[in-house]
Symmetry: C2
Subunit: 298 residues, 2 copies
């Protein structure tokens, strides 16, 4: 009984409900799954294989979507590094609780960068003008505007817009100067959104599938969660660009368009909870708490 009760409780907590008019409040509230099932095909977009990275770990596959609209040069470099098989056999070097998991090659490693650059100019933000953003109306601690652009969480102010460091976002490590990163060293956010990194690091995309393979990496015991011995490291089997694989070997994913009516309905259903379990419907949401649904193409 007790576990069943809690299952119901956290089911309600984790599933969304659609807003309903006052006269309809006795009707069942559609779940997030139901909202998505009722969505028209045009509310989804196929993920471009040129922007899709397959990172194969011993435990399974992580699929990443690059964001070339925000970081075109980093996306191009990451594609070149994948084509050069740069990360095949590279280690996960770090797992810091409530922060990031990170991978890359050690100092002195001579693996070829292929046609990739060793260093890039930062791509921390871009001009807001001309960028379509589905805005959230609730306040944000870090920026005057937050919302979604082409499937990614974004923030902005003063005529600029940038990707936001939400859970599952992928960033390119850099040194003390702005131009020292290349995309060869990458990290994924696995905790409370470290939004203070916004505009300090170039974000290059987000995990579409398999983030749970990275987030459970045993935390490193060294400073900043770095692993202290080779035995603690997980070795990446391979990293491939989907467009390099035959079509039969690709996973055809779609993401819910963040400029779609379905996404607006979903967001509102998460802002204001109508499920019977919720005693306090909240009526607000943070940009990093809005789900960004992904599905296999039907």
């Amino acid at each position: 009984m007790r576990l069943q009760a809690l299952t119901a409780a956290l089911l309600a907590a984790s599933c969304a409900s659609a807003p309903v008019s006052s006269e309809a409040q006795t009707a069942p509230v559609p779940s997030m799954g139901e909202i998505l099932e009722q969505s028209p095909a045009g509310d989804w977009r196929a993920v471009n294989p040129e922007n899709t990275i397959y990172m194969d770990l011993p435990a399974g596959r992580v699929i990443i979507e690059l964001a070339p609209e925000y970081a075109p040069n980093h996306a191009a470099n990451i594609r070149a590094l994948a084509r050069a098989h740069y990360w095949d056999g590279a280690p996960i070097v770090r797992s810091q609780d409530n922060y990031v998991v990170q991978w890359g090659r050690d100092e002195g490693d001579t693996t070829s960068y292929g046609e990739a650059q060793r260093s890039l100019q930062p791509e921390f933000d871009r001009r807001r003008s001309g960028v379509e953003v589905t805005r959230l109306q609730d306040p944000d601690s870090y920026a005057r505007e937050v919302g979604f652009s082409d499937g990614f969480p974004v923030a902005g102010q003063n005529g600029r817009t940038w990707l936001a460091h939400c859970y599952g976002m992928i960033g390119a490590g850099r040194g003390d100067t702005a131009d020292s990163g290349s995309g060869a060293e990458l990290y994924v956010v696995i905790g409370q959104a470290p939004r203070h990194l916004d505009r300090n690091v170039t974000l290059v995309g987000r995990v579409l599938q398999g983030v749970e393979l990275l987030s459970v990496m045993p935390r490193g015991t060294g400073a900043l969660g770095f692993y202290e011995t080779p035995e603690e490291r997980t070795i990446i089997r391979s990293v491939r660009l989907a467009s390099e694989l035959p079509e039969s070997e690709r996973v055809n994913l779609q993401t819910l368009r963040t400029d779609s009516a379905t996404f607006r309905t979903l967001t509102e259903s998460r802002r204001t909870r109508r499920d019977p379990w919720f005693l306090e419907p909240t009526g607000a949401i943070n940009v990093c708490n809005v789900p960004l649904p992904v599905r296999t193409a039907p």
Copy 2:
């Protein structure tokens, strides 16, 4: 070189720096560790053994501090359950990525509750009047006031205050009615703060040490991250109230007082980053991104 560069980069990102006056900006910026080292003894408070729970897992110990100022009846019930050894041999039943890890006993289990109640009235919030809160000045998506009260993150509005669902906070599962929880089933937040649960679930405390033993639990493959087979579950060795153990077996922890000058300096150093690595100092912080330092009594 590359990894060293990234180490420096994320060192800067993860360590705090104190605000400095403009004439002092060439001086080294104190790190979070340095700020804490310079703190007077009176800026720390001992954690009361009556509020301290040791949860021993095969991988090590998790230490939880209860929050009886916010949830007195739940704290009392959890103490009674610990005294009855209720959780000894109980399983971790659920691990849902970017959400919660949860433990408790299955439906039909007959383990004695000892002197604990089977059901409690909710303790979702309390009167704001008379509660000392160290306020944050930056906006929050979910509440008009956020800050810290006696070492815990809090939110509030309309004359009420409540504990906030930040990473590492511990909550008591409940069923569809407000009074169906008892504290026998507990969860810990292991992802982006699910603040929509605020005022919908009674929060009972937070993890002081060892949250990384819970956050890496392999994610369950059932709905909501429930484990589908007994083999997937981790078994809790024991849960004890520190005050029940001989003093020689206790861990004497202290938490930084959130009404102290050191905590204000630390918070400001995280709001506005002065480390050379930061190109954009941010100048704002979310309540769930402020560190709540814990140390062993010197």
